[in-house]
């Protein structure tokens, strides 16, 4: 169940025929994405909603 297995870090600039020198091995790329996605899955703390609401209210008020 590794969804991102196929996504290569060099997706932006695939160098056809040869491995790009900056290529990151799959296991490392997968782990980085998993670490990142782990945080993305967290519920956003309420204080952010409060902040955005405050901004929106201010906008309406002005």
């Amino acid at each position: 169940m590794i969804m991102s297995d196929k996504i290569k870090p060099d997706q932006a600039n695939p160098a056809p025929g040869e491995a790009a020198p900056e290529q990151v091995p799959d296991w490392l790329g997968n782990r980085l994405r998993r670490m990142f996605n782990d945080v993305m899955q967290e519920p956003v703390p309420d204080e952010f909603k409060a902040l955005l609401k405050q901004l929106e209210d201010k906008e309406r008020g002005s």
Binding site: E22, Q23, L28, L32, D38, M40, E47, E56
Partner: protein, 192 residues
């Protein structure tokens, strides 16, 4: 909830990515959330500068990165965290291999120089292109690539070659987060 301001709605949608990017940069959940709050405020104040149609995510990452760097300049005594102490706080529930792996990953990441860390995260984790990452970091694409190469070499060194042989855990992490993220949600950002 349904904000009528489309700009704020888009920012709201990008909050998870901003929090993740902030945490990758500084390694500390509470501090990262402070950075995200600053970012949202700055983005709102400067929203006229954002060109509709361009990449809002990259724009917000740029702001967050600037916030982080200016914070670093003001907190020199805390600039680096060579022992990965704050990164270790990322370990929420090291009750299975996947979590341990992520903790090791986070620690290793925090041992990289910041310029390598941000390049690697931007391209390999956030999904920005090399060009977008270069714009965020205000360097050439070639610089981003060489930073990524150096970051990769160092991480392979830190995490070991055998990491390649470790069978990735079968548990779909995308589904287990409700049980593993509660530690973070109780953390409050510092009042600023």
């Amino acid at each position: 909830m349904a904000g009528s301001d489309p700009f704020l709605d888009q920012i709201t949608a990008l909050l998870p990515a901003l929090r993740a990017f902030g945490r990758s940069l500084c390694g500390d959940p509470a501090r990262a959330d402070d950075l995200v709050q600053d970012t949202v405020l700055k983005a709102w104040t400067n929203r006229q500068q954002f060109q509709t149609g361009s990449n809002l995510k990259a724009w917000l990452f740029t702001i967050l990165r600037n916030c982080y760097y200016s914070e670093l300049r003001h907190r020199k005594f805390e600039v680096e965290d060579p022992d990965g102490i704050s990164a270790s706080q990322l370990a929420v529930s090291p009750d299975h291999d996947a979590k341990l792996q992520l903790r090791d990953m986070s620690r290793a990441l925090q041992q990289l120089p910041i310029d390598q860390r941000e390049a690697l995260v931007l391209v390999c984790a956030t999904g920005l292109s090399y060009e977008e990452a270069a714009a965020v970091c205000q360097v050439a694409v070639g610089t981003i690539k060489s930073r990524i190469a150096r970051a990769r070499d160092r991480l392979v060194e830190l995490l070991g070659d055998d990491a390649a042989q470790v069978v990735e855990p079968g548990s779909p992490l995308g589904q287990v987060d409700s049980t593993t993220t509660t530690g973070h949600t109780t953390r409050r950002t510092r009042a600023s």
